[in-house]
Symmetry: C2
Subunit: 900 residues, 2 copies
Amino acid sequence: MTKYVYDFAEGNKDMKDLLGGKGANLAEMTNMGLAVPPGFTITTEACLRYLKENRFPDGLEEEIERHLRGLEQAMGKRLGDADDPLLVSVRSGAKFSMPGMMDTVLNLGLNEDSLQGLAKQSDGDWRFAYDAYRRFIQMFGKIVMGVPGDAFEEALDRAKERKGPDAKDTDLDAEDLRALIGEFLSIYQEHTGQDFPAEPREQLRLAIEAVFKSWNGKRARDYRRQNKISDDLGTAVNVVAMVFGNRGMDSGTGVAFTRDPATGEKVPYGDYLPNAQGEDVVAGIRNTLHLSELKNLDPTSYEQLLQTMDTLERHYRDMCDVEVTIEKGRLWILQTRVGKRTAFAEWVMAYHMLEEGLIDADTALLRVDANRLEELFKRVVSSSVEAEPIARGLNASPGAATGKVVFSADEAQEWAGRGERVILVRRETTPDDYHGMVASQGILTSAGGTNSHAAVVARGEGIPAVCGADQIKIDLSARAFSANGITVREGEVVTIDGFTGNVFVGELPLEESVLERARSGDPAAREEKIWRAFQRLMAHADERRRLRVRANADTPEQSRNARARGAEGIGLCRTEHMFLGPERVAAVQQMIFAETADEEREALDALLPLQRNDFVQIFQAMDGLPVTVRLLDPPLHEFLPDLTSLSVEVAVAEARGESGPELEEKKRTLRKVRELHEANPMLGLRGVRLGIVKPGLYAMQVRAIVEAACEVKKSGGDPKVEIMIPLVATRAELEQMRQELEPVARDVLERERVELGHLEWGTMIEVPRAAVTAGEIAEVADFFSFGTNDLTQMGFGFSRDDIGKFVGMYEERKLVPANPFVTIDRAGVGRLMRIGCEEGRAANPNLHIGICGEHGGDPASVAFCHEIGLDYVSCSPFRVETARLAAGQAAVGTAESSTK
Amino acid sequence: MTKYVYDFAEGNKDMKDLLGGKGANLAEMTNMGLAVPPGFTITTEACLRYLKENRFPDGLEEEIERHLRGLEQAMGKRLGDADDPLLVSVRSGAKFSMPGMMDTVLNLGLNEDSLQGLAKQSDGDWRFAYDAYRRFIQMFGKIVMGVPGDAFEEALDRAKERKGPDAKDTDLDAEDLRALIGEFLSIYQEHTGQDFPAEPREQLRLAIEAVFKSWNGKRARDYRRQNKISDDLGTAVNVVAMVFGNRGMDSGTGVAFTRDPATGEKVPYGDYLPNAQGEDVVAGIRNTLHLSELKNLDPTSYEQLLQTMDTLERHYRDMCDVEVTIEKGRLWILQTRVGKRTAFAEWVMAYHMLEEGLIDADTALLRVDANRLEELFKRVVSSSVEAEPIARGLNASPGAATGKVVFSADEAQEWAGRGERVILVRRETTPDDYHGMVASQGILTSAGGTNSHAAVVARGEGIPAVCGADQIKIDLSARAFSANGITVREGEVVTIDGFTGNVFVGELPLEESVLERARSGDPAAREEKIWRAFQRLMAHADERRRLRVRANADTPEQSRNARARGAEGIGLCRTEHMFLGPERVAAVQQMIFAETADEEREALDALLPLQRNDFVQIFQAMDGLPVTVRLLDPPLHEFLPDLTSLSVEVAVAEARGESGPELEEKKRTLRKVRELHEANPMLGLRGVRLGIVKPGLYAMQVRAIVEAACEVKKSGGDPKVEIMIPLVATRAELEQMRQELEPVARDVLERERVELGHLEWGTMIEVPRAAVTAGEIAEVADFFSFGTNDLTQMGFGFSRDDIGKFVGMYEERKLVPANPFVTIDRAGVGRLMRIGCEEGRAANPNLHIGICGEHGGDPASVAFCHEIGLDYVSCSPFRVETARLAAGQAAVGTAESSTK
């Protein structure tokens, strides 16, 4: 027979799955001998059975009754007793703390009879007893039965109005409350169609059912989705003997942290409210006191609290928060848990606790969240500033930014090109805006959520963003937006705060983060604890990790930046960026339009020195470290004008009767664009297919790469070159490409009389077929690099550019495990990787394998890469530290951040 | 030590890998005691070593020498001997007969010395000896050394001219030939820069090397690619003692078949040429005699030949062809092999041999080529017609067709819509022409090869086509084409013959094939042997096959057609076709444009009865058999106008200053089209994603399907309904869709008070992720159907619409194993299928699994489906018999057609 109910004394803190977080910790504290009111926990298993069968599972009712009797005996009181009634609170408690669940019903057990007993036991304090009763009716009605909270609040307001202007709750006397109870019971009856349940056991049953059901409430489900918590956990229910913080000035309630959750410093921190129940703190009816003031109000309890907190922290070896109630000078601990903290504080705390010897270095490493590391490097709005935001949106991508407002991606790119700092303001962004987004300091949208295109790209690129600021109305024709009566025109300066979602007019002073300053060498910043914590824990991560970390860098500047952040090479140097820029695009178009081999060669010859120069600088920046250069990948038409726009242009010119050589030239271009146009360019003529159709292209790139390497080598450098062929689907593609390109490299080396110590040839594994035939391909490859962006696109059949129309719905309805473009889809894409990795290695034991999709900087994905045994991950330069940290955590064990 | 040379007595017919087809059969016949001239075979292994190392492998030279000496001893003659010289022929012989390889060098061993001996041995017939020598120089020069053949031919022509007008080869006397030899030797010297090799062993070495090298000649490689023969086989070389068919009128040469290769009848069939060497037959210098005339010329040899052929056929249990030479009344067999035959003859022969008891039914089944079955059903140009073609192209898709010429797909569709029979004439076709292609009787293109878009689609759809008829010049502005001086205008009738590639002006009488007539019930046709053969072997295939065969049919007519061909259900009923047609497109657009739920419902309500009526007729046509209906799959924008065209239209109208409600309407449409436009529609909002985004759509379809099934059931039918959700990538998609749609079906059934015996819910497996997570998906599916078109697109990252630009090069360079859209790519896409199948079944033992991609009608793919244990294949109606046959063959064993 399944056991569904546990007395606090029967559980412990490791039973969170069954007892929920709250129940497990109450049990733990009970067994530690701390002052926890007696009670019991109904398990998550009971909840799940209830939700499945839509009724209490067999035996549950009897078990509850048995534990209730035990509680009555322990307290020497009886539920509903007219002399000395037991009152209980009923509180939900899932494995993870979760807003949106039914929270707490206090004072359960009251009815007209037990009300008498409560008054008697509180020395005839009828005001207290009535107040407890009206609170109970209110909470039960609202939380358990779904009566609109406003109905009770309005009745309460009317009662206060009757008392006089500015009357407070506390001004209501026993008589007033007695009358209010009558009103509350009518409200209850009116909204539920039933009388308020007088029977305490009936009250309890209804409350427990309400907690069970709240697991599937919309807000709870939304929260779980947002926080990637499984729907299959269920919630536990805690039934606890009531203690009262509202029994006078020698009573009170508070929340305390064992360390400061904002700074991480080891100082007691918290709030206290005398003569109040917990809900009053939450409701913010009166201003709370700083915890330290309790020392004056009740030094004994204060001392006892500090001691309890110390005990808890030693026991949990982590910062805890506790909910306390003092009833007539007696301290009760109602709840504890490992406390939430800021990204900043988690580093400082982990470092301190390590220094204090409370935890070891591995534990300290697991205490910090790799997902939040990036935030610590972002600029913030200077704390000295007091400015009023003109609008507020979602904090979609962390960091503060200031710049001139522009309304289109093209303008953003153009303005930025001439050195302006710009904020791109759009209703929403689309993939067509990408070039403007990455040219901007920050992005502000008036529509779209935290998973909108703008938000996803901004986070991916590390650009601050505020999204869905819906007070902002954009008027494109006027080149202005307005918000709350203020109009901001193109070119005017705004500041956005991606930490808070605030939007300000004008340039607010921004501060570099301490870590960024310290990294740049600022000695003062290097004295700060956060930097010491960062240094210490990153060193441990580096010591522990088995994965190497490279960066995706296309320019010398990015390469230097990446190296400064600890990159151990470049895992992806995209060459398509080298084909952009006015002088290059002309040559690229010439190559595409070439009708003879000579024309094509001429165009390629023009590109060669430009490419070579780029490579020289990159090899220099990465001297001694491997640089993986990917040969040209995107469809050629990406270097050409858009088909529709050009068609319209030509048709309109013709309709207007224009003519002349310029139009003829445009028509020629249009013909070519039409010829190259593809229905699905992602699955068309790109990658190695380009290399096969235009063999001169890859040969030119290889020549440029190897010539650059020779130049660097001759000037004393140590270039390590890895040449990567993209989009390979068959072994023959790679084999034939190598047969064509290796002689090109050899020719250069012979001509230059240089020997390179490290010159390897490999391929992306980014087409599903390549993954499942990796064994064949590995026979002709020195290395693999998983291109998880494309592998995800083709694995799911999701075009990244197009899924905007449904991906929101997909995440909301959990049709995908998580956004597969952010975190590797283990079951599908991950399975393909695993096959590719295992079979590639089996066929070629010398094969080295990495990943260069954007997943390389996502901590959960890094953990997966560690698990399947990759040699390295490669990610954006600004994610290098995140990846190093995540790799260290993966090596140490399951990161806490992923134990949800 | 590897053995590289085998005497004929050392081999047998099963050693084709090592000895090549010719060598193995020569060995077999030698051991059967047939009159084969002595000789030996150099193995394919020697060839491969030679090609790899670019020299004779160690020991080969010595082995050849040893076998040569053996041959000399056996013949009692010596190579190069001035008294009684041994002459040999050197012939290539790969495992598969292969044009483009170096063929034969006769009379090897001749030089000025042995010439004397040859003359002596031929009783002083100097004319014979000189003729043998000049032939040898000519063949050796041309074939071994690459001297242009014309050079010799011209010298020969000059010699004949000198003899007088109309002089023939035979008019040249010994003296003329002696002089010609001098000329030939000079030609040889001039072109090769060397003297003609006098040393017979040197001649032999060069000839052997030439055979080896010819394996990698361009024509040989092209042939192998075309016929899917591996490049890794190599060729053997046969060295055989010469016998002479040109020793007078008691000598001769011929080719004989044991049965008629065109009709399959058991009659001796072949050609004979008295006083000639084999090459003369090939060169067509004189007209050959029908084999039966040999009976009069040389009854003994004739009788002996008939006996030999009988022996061979009994031995090989198959039709053989033999190459024979009669030297002075003595019959020699120079070669035999299983003979090629027409698609028609292979059925008749297999049937006869089965009836004769020569082979069993399984063997008979394997004797016919499923790939060619379709041809037998095609119409042909009536054999009574003698017409002159105006052009000739490639026979790209079998069958003859006649109709009016149109030059665009839209016209083809429009003309066909009003009942005209049309031939679509284009330079080349593109995917945009599809609708016009399938509306046409036949397709004629002036460019493009047998793998061009037109050819592939035509074969896929069973439409006759002639492609690459490059004499045809199309003048679109004049709406006409011309060929060889004849102009054909739009609307004029032409006839194309997809069997021969011929194009005729005017309507030629066409004949239905015997099989088609027989199937339609024509009693005369049902008496013909081919029909009896077809009936007998198909019955055996049906008895043997384990795979069931369904059809892909979208209309009642296709369903009836499919059932007549033996389809056991519908594996894919696409519903998108039901959304076309003027009345429907309007409702579909209304649904797409709907801005409120009401508007959307209204549009869907309009579509419902139309859909239902379609389904009623399909269920009736397939009464008692399962019908798998796929819910809407393609991107919505496929039902809308093209973005670029509409943009141009609107922009031009605006540039012209037009205005009015019509333009406004267009602009409204354009906005929506732009909004729905996708960068990669193949990976965008389609399939189940549509069902999720527009839930009313699938619900409407399910209602229509189930209502139709109820109607059919009520009128006494037995509809078996399988509802298929396309493009599923995750288990949750299918699960949630079922949760939404099953209640819709239940509601209809309850309302109609009908119970359906068979109502299943399943999914396409067409996204790679679905294949690798099939275990999860199978838990919520009743069936899987592999959508191998999409699985191939996404597995390779090949968009079918776009690969035209490189797929030709890919096939040519063997970058893909075969066209993966025609034959399942076993290693990649096949692997995904295997995983999907195994893991799906493991998770759900009741799961039934089929395939509905176009591969379902490709025999090699059917064999693969059998191998991995699918339950059924589903293919185009006109491929049903092909699939049944292939399934039977797969069950029996490896089909001969796939043993290449």
